[in-house]
């Protein structure tokens, strides 16, 4: 599986934010997108996920399952985490695992397993509304694990996480890459992935 981006152009609010950007990423690789605020990191991730219209260029996952579109093979994680505060962590994750993974995949983890990985097993039955910001973020990261999708699009995944959680998440990301997954992450902080490629927006693009 390979992510190929060719001459991607995206406008936002009438301004050309991403101008003829090209890169490619093969299975097992991670790409860290860096750059100053407002340079278009989030825009790039949203455009890759198909949430923003492309002005030009193409985004494709080569040699994936032929009948599945790219957005259906991608996880998108941004500041808002898609968790309903009246529902418990477990109910939220159970919903997303059933909604985002149409066919059962052996690489998807159970809700309990994913919660154990992010260290939230003890508060699985608590409503999301009472969690701290860091715990909410960890619950959102667990969503990536309960439904296997090869491409992870992560927008500032590490905000509000403490050091232990960052290390745990780095392990989860390395495992994802080892299973042939791809990661595109926009971040200002080191992800803890040594072999990650880097794409600096604003200077190179």
């Amino acid at each position: 599986m390979r992510l190929c981006v060719d001459d991607l152009c995206v406008t936002r609010g009438g301004r050309l934010v991403i101008d003829r950007l090209s890169f490619s990423l093969s299975a097992g690789q991670a790409l860290v997108v860096t750059g100053p605020n407002g340079v278009g990191k989030s825009t790039l991730l949203r455009a890759l996920a198909g949430l923003l219209p492309r002005e030009g260029g193409s985004v494709a996952l080569a040699s994936g399952p032929p009948d599945v579109e790219l957005p259906q093979q991608a996880h998108y994680l941004a500041h808002s985490d898609g968790m309903k505060s009246p529902l418990t962590v477990e109910e939220n994750l159970d919903f997303w695992s059933r909604y985002l993974a149409q066919k059962p995949d052996p690489r998807s983890r159970t809700v309990d397993g994913a919660l154990a990985i992010v260290g939230l097993g003890h508060i699985a039955a608590a409503p999301v509304g009472v969690l701290s910001a860091g715990q909410k973020r960890r619950a959102a990261l667990a969503r990536l694990l309960v439904a296997f999708r090869p491409l992870w699009l992560l927008d500032e995944p590490l905000t509000t996480l403490d050091r232990t959680s960052r290390e745990k998440f780095a392990v989860a990301m390395r495992e994802h890459c080892a299973r042939g997954g791809l990661i595109v992450a926009a971040t200002h902080e080191p992800l803890g992935l040594d072999e990650a490629k880097e794409l600096a927006l604003g200077s190179a693009a």
């Binding site: 219209p53 941004a78 529902l87 919903f95 059933r98 909604y99 985002l100």
Partner: protein, 223 residues
Amino acid sequence: MTSPLSALFLREWRVARRLGGSGAMGVVFFLTLVAIVPFAVGPDPNLLARIGPAMLWIAALLATLLCLDRLFQADAEDGSLDLFHLAETPLELAVLVKCAAHWAATGLPLILAAPFLGLMLQQERMALLGVVATLLVGTPALTLIGAIGAAATVTVRRGGLLMALLVLPLTIPVLIFGVSAAEAASGGTVPFYAPFAILCAITLAALALCPFAAAAALRYLGE
């Protein structure tokens, strides 16, 4: 295909029933509105019996609209809407299931409460049956039409009023045929089935068209 949709239904149902959900709010609003009618128009039993079906329908319409403005806005705020775009389930089906869950959580309680409130408005047995039957058939159309307004105002902060302004004209046919069928049930010159059949037709048309319109609005605004 059924599993993601039933999961969505269950999630929407739970959110609506838990604390701060819209489930109870509609019924309480409905109750308040109907309860103040006799104080406003006076306690004349004949007058109340005549305007009763119309009052129940107006109250049901407003109660439905009151609860609808957060239908998609809550999902847009917490990021769920972005994830719906990434799911394999078409957005149209997700809209339909959200409407169904919303109707089950807010519309059904209104229908269950209607006969008891009808008693306060001097409604006879046949009239009560007529109101319940027309509400049962007509409120899904209100929810579905309202979903278009909720989708179109999803990015507007405090868009509830704007949504009501957009949606109210579209709900007028439902109101007209709902009330005329409910009134025909307790006697009158019009047969019950003529307006009732048109009400059924409006609901079926709304069922077929509204999910597409609402999903199109969500797609356009999501970009």
